[in-house]
Each structure stands twice: as C-alpha cells, then as structure tokens.
C-alpha cells in the first residue's frame, strides 16, 4: 500500500511527461488540459485516498508505541555492509506528513488546473508537479537515510524545474539555478552526516535490518540506548542541520527561497510553503534521538531558528511584492519550527508544520488568485480595495491572515503558542536561553501580525490603486511566458471555482486544524502530541529504571522493525501530556500574553497601514539586508575569478602547459634532423616508438643485470 502511495504520482508524471505533447497535437489545448489535469489530480487522489486509509485504517488502530508499518520494495544498493533499500516506513511522524502532503497537495493540484489554464506547457507543469509528489512522499516514507536523500534531492530537482518553469524568463532561470546550488550546499552536509552515521552505527536505516545475516538495530535506537561519543553525535546532528538549513531556508542558506517565487504560484504554495521546505524540520524530527543526545547541536538549532524567524520577519515587512512577503514569512515561520525542535519540542514543531501547511498554502493560493484576477500584477502598491471584487479570495485570505497572526482559537494560534511556551519552559538549553529565545519569538509574533496586516490592508482595503496609470515600471515581476490568456487589463475579477473551492477548504482547515493539538492547560487533550510523541525522541533523559527498561525493550524489539526509540513505549499515556500541574497557571498566562501580542500587532498594523498604505520601509530592510550582495562579493565572484584568472589561465595554461610545451619543443629540436628522414606521420611515429622502445629496453636489460649483480 505504501508503495502505491508513493508511486501513483510517478505514474501520472510519466504519462503526462511522455504523452502530454501528443495529447496537445491530437486534441488541442482545451481537451488536453482536461485530460492532463485529470491524470495529475487522479494520481494524487489515489495517493491521498490510500494515505488516509493507511493512516486511519491501519496505523491508528495499532497500540500506542507500536504504530509502525514497514514495507520492503527492493534492495537498491548493497555493497559490503552498507545497505540501502527502497523500503518504506509509516509511523506517526511520517503518517502526519503524508496526510497533509497528499491532502494539501491534492487541493493545490486542483487549484493549479484552474490557475495554469491556457498555459501551453500545461502538461509539462503537471508532469513536474506529480514528480514532486512522488519525491516528497519518497522523502517522508523512506525507511533509511539514503532513500530519504533520494527524495531530498528529488524535491530539489522538481523545485528547480518548477521555479524555472517559465523557461524564457531569465530571472526564473537564475532563481532555479540558485535554489538548486544552495540546496546542494546543504546536501553536502547531509551526505557527510550519512557517512558519519554509517561509520558510527554501521547502518543508515530507521528500522532494524538484517544485513549480511546480522540483526542491526536502527541507528536511532542505537543512539538512544548505546553509549556513543557526544562529539560524534553532535557532529552528525550539526551536519544534518546544515542540510536542513538548505532545504528549509534557514540562515545562512535562506537566500534561495524568496527568489524561488519566480515559479508559478501553485508551486510556491505546494513546494515553497506547505511541503518541501518543511523537509528540514522532518529530518531533524526524524533524527531527534541523535539531536537530544547532542545539547550543543540543539542549542544551535534553536538559536538559528529564532534568529531566522526574526530576521526574515523584519525583511517581510518591507517587501512590496505580495509573494515576496509570503516568502519571507515562510522563512520566518520555518524558523519557529526549528526553534521548537531546538528546545526539544519536536511535536510542537511538527504541529506548526501542519498548521502552517494549511494557512500558508491558503495565503499563497489566495495571493495567486489575486495575481490571477489582477492580470499578473504582484506589486501590492498597485492593488488596494480588492475585497469587493474578490469576495471569496478576500474572506478566505482573511482567515489565513488571522491564523498566521496567531489570533486565538485559529490553527496558527495553538501551534505558535505551544512553541513559545516550550521555548520559555525548556530544559534543553542553559538557563535563561529559553527565556531569551521566547522574547525573540514573541517579538517575531508581533512583527508577523504587522506584516500580514500590511499585506491585507494594501491588497484588499483602501483606494483602488490599480486604476491609476501604471505604465511606468509595468513589466514588474509578472511571469514571463505566463498568462497570455488573461493578459488583457480588465477590472479585477474573482477566480473560477477550481481555484476558489480549494481556498475555501484550506480556510476551513486553517480555522479548525489547530484543535487536534489543544494543550491540556487550555482544556484540550492534545491528541496530536500524544499520537506523535512515540515517534520522536523525548528530551529529558529517562530515569535510571526506565533506561534499563528501554535497553531490554530494545533487545526484545528486534523484530521486523525496531524503528524508533522505544523508551516511550512504556510511558503511561497520561504522563505524555508533559510537565507537572504547577506549570498550568504559567502556561495559561503565556497563552494570554501571546494572544495580546497578536492582537496588538494586528491593531497597530490596521491603524498604521490604513493611513500609510504606501509607507516606505528603511532601505536596508527593503534591500533584504543585502545578504545576496554580501555572498556575491565574498564567495561567488572571488571563486569565479580565482578559477578563471588563477587556475585556468595561469596554472593550467601557463604553468603546466608551459612545462609540457617546453619539453616538447626540446624534443622537437632534438628530433629535427630525424624528422626529414621519414615521410608521413604514421611511419614517423611508429619509428619513434620503435627506436625509443629499443633504446629503453636495451638500457633496462643492461641495468637489470647490474641490479642482479648488486644483489
């Protein structure tokens, strides 16, 4: 079943990739769109249906702590004791991921059938889009690091293809290349981490494997139960985090994500908001047993996460391109997720991944609807007052706005609140670090509310600026080959049902999606955490007795799958709703504080931006702190110059070739006399070989006997 979940979208991609063009020739644009769109959505639909069946029908009924389903497909690579299979692992962590990947993925696919209408590369788009689903599902369902890496690089490839989807548009080409290369830098860390995992544990699998006749338990349970040098674990964790900073756009590798907005908007929603960019969080959560044993790495993750959150949020406030705002917002929200992981609250991080998938997909699709309705205008300075033209888009985005801002009782509120509270109360970090991180997170929350309010105000309220003359810098950011179909400037209009229905569903999810994880302190039971917790490591080292139990349990558990660390298996469910009762009061107080912060931000934003919709942010923020320029000046250009003027033109051409040519000239001079005695190249060189060989052989034979005598 897991196989089919993964491979169904690949089938769609192959059909559309191979035959899409033929469809176009045979049936024309309109029918092709229907056919291609149907194949693409149906293949994802199959995945989604099976994912829900697998999750609720098979995983859910299992006992807590035993929720592991594995499926072996074939052994991909096996050399010596190294083994990597095409094999899949469904547990609470990957289960939650496949639910929202296929669910949100399907919605965005449907949306895209409307959004991409009229595009001559329709089939190509959906081929890549389906391929992405295949890779993303491979990533989260992989039962070992190398297969995860296949998905990891695979989603990077699809991201590359889709960012550069408008192939004639140079900006898109550069952005695509940049995304791939920056990700590759992260992948470098991932690869080295994989090597280290293999050398340290002898396996790269998340489950127990039989390798060459030995039962080898997963590296995760080995990390939990065996004494492994902290240094090795820290290095592994940090290297994985390097990979995560690439894929999930954290400092210092975040620069590709804002540029990635050159892709069509459904791509931004699916890949660069809801799914792919959260793969880094997935990786950290998946390897959480390693992270919790490496306090330094945890601290780094938390600090980088918090720093990225506030850094990106401040940039977001100064952008005028609606998608750029959302892009920096995504970077910032991803920072929250890492902050959660870094303070040991992996479940809270994943919770935010899920709620973020809902509301950020919603916001991106909403922005796409706006762009679509505005004939490819992306500059918010030329929008305004759109709420009466696009009521559905407006009201759904309204929900998304409140959700991301952390207005109480919406999804973003619960997950963000949980992260902030966990940061404050963490025991993973040295004293007061948690509190400092909380302050950063809280400030970020206010800024988030402000920039999102700004986006809403500039887009939907105020004067209708699009009626003003805008032939000045018209070309703007509008997609290159896109939208010839609706390129005429009429008044803004609402999008068709293919686009609005997904918006409405996502809005509902953003409204209620948070209720699966209402913490106990607020009267909920936090099903989410209770469900997910056995699949990720717990921060606090288990008491001595428990540790003993864990080890024996591990030995006992060397059954088909000894997946994820098993200390929690024995933990009473009641205990799972963490912390003692004395914290409840404080936790409630903090919930109150973050509600106030959100409302404060919104209130300020409404007041300020209603009056100054065209307010100009400080230049430094508008210029995104000039990080790209910094990287170009310190890394890119020097490397290029070194390579061209140093290595190639001097080392290669002058030095090495200089020597070679010099020697050759010498021989040519010596052979000058000989040359005229021969005609034709072949004989000439045959003679050279022969004469040379005879001389050398003769010399050697003589010296050989010399050696013999000396012995």
């Amino acid at each position: 079943m897991l196989k089919i979940i993964v491979f169904a979208p690949l089938v769609g991609a192959i059909i559309n990739g191979l035959f899409g063009k033929r469809f176009l020739k045979l049936f024309g644009q309109k029918t092709t769109e229907r056919l291609v769109g149907f194949i693409a959505c149906a293949s994802v639909g199959v995945s989604a249906a099976l994912a829900f069946t697998a999750f609720f029908g098979r995983l859910w009924p299992l006992r807590r702590g035993e929720r592991i389903i594995t499926e072996h497909f074939f052994t991909w690579l096996k050399v010596g004791s190294f083994q990597a299979d095409f094999a899949y692992l469904l547990d609470p962590l990957s289960g939650i991921y496949i639910l929202f990947i296929t669910g949100v993925g399907l919605l965005i696919h449907i949306y895209a059938t409307g959004y991409m209408h009229g595009d001559p590369g329709y089939y190509r788009f959906f081929c890549y889009f389906n391929l992405f689903m295949f890779m993303m599902l491979t990533l989260v369902l992989a039962d070992n690091l190398l297969l995860l890496f296949v998905g990891w690089e695979g989603v990077g490839l699809c991201s590359y293809l889709l960012i550069g989807y408008y192939i004639k548009w140079d900006v898109a080409g550069s952005a695509a290349k940049k995304a791939f290369i920056v990700n590759r830098i992260g992948d470098f860390g991932f690869m080295i981490a994989t090597f280290l995992v293999f050398t340290t544990f002898g396996t790269i699998s998340f489950v127990t494997k039989n390798i060459n006749g030995h039962e080898v338990s997963s590296f995760l349970s080995q990390a939990t139960s065996l004494p492994v040098a902290v240094g090795a674990l820290t290095t592994i964790a940090l290297l994985f985090f390097v990979g995560a900073t690439g894929k999930s756009a954290q400092i210092p590798l975040f620069t590709w994500l804002p540029d990635a907005m050159a892709g069509p908007t459904p791509v931004s929603a699916l890949i660069h908001a809801a799914t792919m960019v959260t793969a880094g969080v997935y990786l950290v959560a998946r390897c959480s047993p390693v992270f919790v044993k490496a306090p330094t790495a945890m601290a780094v993750v938390a600090v980088i996460g918090a720093a990225t959150a506030i850094f990106a949020a401040t940039i977001g406030i100064a952008q005028n391109d609606i998608k750029k705002v959302l892009a920096y917002s995504t970077v910032s929200q991803l920072g929250y997720m890492f902050l959660a992981c870094g303070v040991g609250a992996f479940t809270a991080g994943i919770f935010h991944v899920m709620t973020h998938a809902f509301f950020k997909a919603l916001l991106f699709l909403g922005s796409g609807s706006v762009i679509h309705g505005m004939s490819n205008e992306q500059d918010m300075r030329r929008m305004g007052g759109l709420r009466k033209y696009m009521p559905i888009t407006f009201s759904t985005m309204f929900v998304g706005w409140l959700a991301i801002s952390g207005v109480p009782l919406l999804s973003g509120f619960f997950s963000k609140d949980e992260i902030l509270w966990r940061a404050w109360s963490t025991e993973a970090l040295p004293q007061n670090w948690g509190k400092a991180l909380w302050v950063v997170g809280a400030i970020t929350a206010v800024i988030t509310a402000i920039y999102m309010t700004r986006l809403m105000v500039m887009t939907f309220w105020g004067s209708e600026r699009f009626t003003e003359a805008h032939n000045d810098h018209h070309a703007g950011h509008a997609g290159g080959g896109h939208g010839d179909d609706h390129g005429h400037h009429g008044s803004p209009h609402e999008s068709g049902w293919l686009m609005t229905v997904p918006l409405v569903i996502l809005a509902m999810l953003s409204l209620v999606g948070g209720y699966v994880g209402v913490p106990a302190a607020l009267g909920g039971s936090n099903h989410f955490e209770e469900f997910l917790e056995p699949a990720v490591a717990k921060l606090k080292p288990a008491p001595a007795v428990d540790a003993g139990a864990a080890t024996t349990d591990l030995v006992a558990q060397v059954e088909p799958h000894g997946a994820v660390p098993s200390a929690e298996t024995h933990a009473a469910p009641a205990e799972a709703s963490h912390e003692g009762g004395h914290d409840v009061g404080t936790e409630r107080m903090f919930t109150l504080i973050s509600s106030v912060l959100a409302l404060l931000g919104i209130g300020f934003g409404l007041r300020f931006f209603s009056r100054n919709p065209l307010w100009r942010a400080p230049k430094l923020l508008e210029d995104k702190y000039r990080v790209d320029e910094l990287y170009n000046a310190t890394i890119v250009s020097p490397l290029e110059n070194l390579s061209r003027d140093g290595l190639w033109k001097i080392v290669d051409v002058k030095i090495i070739d200089g020597i070679v040519n010099g020697v050759a000239r010498l021989f040519a001079a010596l052979a000058g006399a000989l040359r005229y005695t021969q005609t034709g190249f072949a004989r000439n060189y045959a003679a050279v070989i022969l004469v040379g060989a005879i001389i050398v052989i003769g010399y050697f034979i003589v010296s050989f006997f010399g050696i013999r005598i000396s012995i």
Partner: protein
C-alpha cells in the same frame, strides 16, 4: 570459437571488410552512396559486436572463484618469450568491455555527418574498438601492452585528420603525452617480467594472473627502491591516461579538437584504460607501495576533483567544460581506487561506467548543436529550448545524471566512492572524502550554469531561432544512453553484483583478507 575473441576481433573484421569494399565498389561513382555503405558496414559491425558482447555478460558467472579470468582462451603466441594470446574477463573487465561495445555503435551514429574520407574514418574507428576491447580482456601483459598502444594510433588520426582547427597540435600533444607514459610502462613491464621469472624459478611468462600471484606473495622479491620506480612507471602511464591532475592538460585540447565520436570514445573508454590499469596492475602488483602512495594519490585525486570542477566552471567552450568535468569525475574514480574499501572500489568501477555513459552523452549533445551551428561557444547559444525542446529535455537529463542526481547513474558511483573513502584506513582519507564531496556542489554549479546559458532564457541569437530539433538518427544515438543512465541509477545492483568478487579480490591483495566480523558466528 571463444566469445571473447569474437568480441575483440569482430570490429577488426569489419575494418578488413571496409578495406576490400572499396576495391569492389570502385565502379560506383556516387560518393554519397559509397559513404553510406561504409557507414552502414561500421554500424553493422559495431552493433554485432555489442550483441556478441551481451553473450559474454549472459555467460558470465559471478560466483566464479578466480583469481583470473573466466570465459578465457589461452593460446601460445611467442613461445620463446613465454607470451600467450590469453584473453578472458573478470568482474571488472567485463563491464568495461561492455561499455566499449555499447558506446561504439552510438559513436558510429554520431559520426554519420562525417563526409571527409569516410572509409578511412570508419576503419580507424573499428581498429580502435578492437584495441580498446583488447585492453580490457587481455590477461597477458605483452598482449595488454600491444592493445594499449594500438588504441593510440587510430585515435591520433581521428583527432589529427578529422579534428577541428588546431587538430595537429592537439593530436601531437595527445600522442606525446601518452607515448611518454606508455614507454615508461613498457620498461616496467619488462622489469616485472624478469623479476617474475626469478620468482617462478626461471620460467618466463607474461601471464597477469601468475605475475600478480608471484609479486604480491613475495614482497621481498623486488628491492624496495626499484619497486617504487616500477610502481611509478606504471602509475605515470595510467595517471596520464586518466588523466589525474597535473597530467591532464592534453585532455581539453584533445577533446576540443576531436570529432564528436572521438570525444565520446576518448571520455567514454580511453580514459578508463588508465583507471583500469591502476586497478589491474598497480594495486595487485605492488600492494605495499600502493598502500604507501595512497594518501598522496588520494590528495592528487581530490585536487583534481576540485580543480577540474572550478576550471570547468569558467570555460567559455562547451566541449572544454565537459572535458574539465571529466578531470573532476575521474578524480573521484582514482580517489575510490586508492581508498581500498569495498564501497569505494566498487563505486570507482561504477563511476567509470557511469562517466562513460553520461559524459559520452554530453559530448553527443554538444556535437548535435555543433553540427547545426559550427560553434561550441556557450555564448553563441541561449534559449534553444524553444526551437529544440526534445533535445533540451535530454540534455537536461544527461546533465543531471552527470551532476549526480539520485536515481540517475552518476550518484551511485560518487556516493559509494565518498562513503568508502570516508571509512577508508588510508591516513587522512576522511578529510579527502569531505573535500571531495565539495565536488558534488561544484558539479551542480558548472552544469546548471551551462544549461542556463545554452538551453534556457530568451533566444539571443537569431541563428538559433530556426534550429531543427533532433532527427531520428540523433535520437537513436542519445536515447540508449539516457535509458542506460536511468537503469544504472535505479538498478545499480545489476552491475555491482557481477563485479563484487573481482573487486574484492583486488582489494584483498592490498588490505589482506577481511577479518570475520564478530557476530557472524551466529
């Protein structure tokens, strides 16, 4: 008749047919139809050779204990010297021979546009194929040397006669570089021959299996300093062939000037003769020296990986770019060979095959647009995805395979090599692996940058607007390469299983037999 012998000499038979065909067909006046006949003869013979070589892999027994070849044929050749005609395959050579037979029909297809002296061109191609296959299947040192040298001459002419503007310079440079190397090797071969006789009690033999056994089991047979020199003589010949930094400067010139098929064969097969030689001779003949030299060789390999990639990045000429990328990719192979772990050495072999396929395909891609525009300058292109969508798709896939995208062929080799190097017992190997891994980043840089400038964007030159997409012949040449790239990436075990035993034999000569792992008693 022995299957290996047929595979080896069938191309030569084709060359003979071509020689006689001209005298038979002299009445015919139409040059074009004559040329076509020559092309078809070459295509038929190379394809037939490929088919026969499939029989070799079908009959290959991966459980064959060795050491030495299977499907072998041994006939006395020069009795007075103890030289035999001795051919066969083991798990390493069988794949390299197959790579050769696989690439040759494609090379012939890629040469369809050659109009100058087609008959001679095809004759050289066919002779070259026999030489290359011979190198990989020879188990007699003298025979090996003979084949090794034979490849030189047709290649020299292919570059020198059918090459580009600076073909003479490139051809001579290629020739001198490699001749210097191979003459040194000849000296070493003769020395090894005499030393072996000494160990074998005066029986003179060029038998590689015998020599390997005698040399590796008698570490004191050759004085230490002589052994070092002999190792270096072999190594230099192969390093030049690979080419390992800093012996690589013949390669960019040779590639740029060679006709498309010449480049495919050069990158696809000829370079592998170097890495094959290291695996077949340097390691088994001189395991102790190889061990001592390993950190230095690995260091050079890593320099080559990074240096090749950086220089590739700034090339204005597509063929030069691919040529320098070869320096980088072959650096991985050498890194793997000298890491002495199973993963690394299996990876090295796999990378040889993968590089043959994807770099061959890259040169083919460059050749396809060169035939249309007669320039290889990146700046002359741009936006050709619009007039040539199919070509662009395939070009992108091949570039991705070359930059090591998982599920395509390049990834498996690089990953195994780096993993194996990381776990290698060689001093500093872990550092080399980490440094080498930066090559993975750089390969994405130079290849994607090239794609961006050649394939994507607006059409910048009006000459490119009307370019024709690939014709059937070009597709026929390129599609098998792409299929192979996918097959190797998805099912690498198809290849690695066959070579496992032989690679481990070579490795164990160097590292000693594997210790039984602790738990295996269970």
């Amino acid at each position: 008749m022995n299957l290996i012998t047929i595979t080896t000499f069938l191309p030569l038979a084709g060359a003979v047919v071509l020689v006689f065909l001209s005298s038979l067909a002299s009445r015919e006046t139409d040059k074009e139809s004559l040329d076509n006949r020559y092309r078809w003869v070459a295509l038929i013979f190379t394809t037939a050779t490929f088919v026969v070589s499939l029989g070799v892999i079908a009959n290959f027994d991966r459980s064959f204990a060795g050491p030495g070849p299977q499907l072998a044929q041994k006939v006395p050749w020069i009795g007075s010297l103890g030289a035999n005609y001795y051919v066969g395959v083991d798990g390493v050579s069988v794949w390299l021979a197959l790579l050769t037979t696989f690439l040759m029909p494609i090379s012939v297809l890629a040469s369809w546009g050659v109009t100058k002296r087609v008959r001679e061109y095809m004759i050289f191609m066919l002779i070259l194929e026999t030489g290359m296959i011979g190198v990989f299947v020879a188990w007699d040192l003298l025979l090996f040397y003979l084949f090794f040298e034979i490849t030189l001459i047709p290649m020299y002419f292919l570059i020198g006669v059918w090459g580009g503007e600076r073909r003479i310079y490139a051809a001579i440079k290629f020739f001198i570089y490699t001749v210097v190397g191979s003459l040194l090797m000849l000296v070493a071969i003769i020395a090894v021959y005499f030393y072996n006789a000494k160990a074998a009690g005066g029986v003179y033999s060029f038998d590689i299996v015998e020599i390997t056994k005698n040399l590796s089991s008698n570490p004191g047979l050759i004085p230490e300093n002589v052994k070092l020199w002999l190792w270096m003589a072999f190594a230099l010949a192969f390093f030049i062939k690979v080419p390992l930094f800093p012996f690589h400067t013949w390669l960019p010139d040779a590639h740029v000037e060679a006709p498309t098929a010449g480049s495919i064969i050069l990158a696809g097969v000829l370079l592998k003769m170097g890495t094959y030689g290291l695996m077949r001779f340097n390691l088994p003949f001189f395991p102790d020296i190889s061990q001592k030299a390993a950190p230095y060789v690995m260091a050079l390999a890593v320099v080559g990986i990074i240096y090749g990639a950086l220089v590739a990045m700034v090339q204005p000429d597509m063929k030069k770019l691919v040529a320098y990328s070869s320096v980088s990719h072959l650096g991985f192979v050498v890194l793997g060979i000298f890491a002495f772990t199973e993963q690394a050495m299996q990876g090295a072999l796999f990378q040889m095959l993968a590089h043959g396929v994807s770099t061959g395909a890259l040169f083919l891609c460059v050749g396809i647009v060169y035939e249309r525009r007669h320039t290889r300058l990146i700046s002359e292109y741009g936006g050709i995805a619009t007039p040539m969508p199919q070509y662009s798709t395939m070009f992108v896939i091949i570039a991705l395979s070359s930059l090591g995208l998982p599920l395509l062929n390049g990834f498996i080799g690089e990953f195994l090599i780096l993993l194996g190097a990381f776990t290698s017992p060689v001093p500093h190997a872990r550092l080399f692996a980490v440094l080498g891994a930066t090559g993975v980043i750089l390969s994405a840089v130079y290849l994607l940058w090239m794609l961006q400038r050649v394939i994507f964007g607006e059409i910048t030159k009006k000459e490119n607007a009307e370019l024709k997409d690939m014709n059937a012949r070009e597709k026929l040449a390129l599609v098998p390469l792409i299929a192979m790239a996918v097959l190797m990436g998805v099912g690498p075990m198809l290849f690695l299983r066959e070579s496992e035993k032989s690679v481990n034999q070579v490795r164990q000569i160097v590292t000693g037999p594997d210790e039984k792992s602790v738990g295996s008693v269970r």
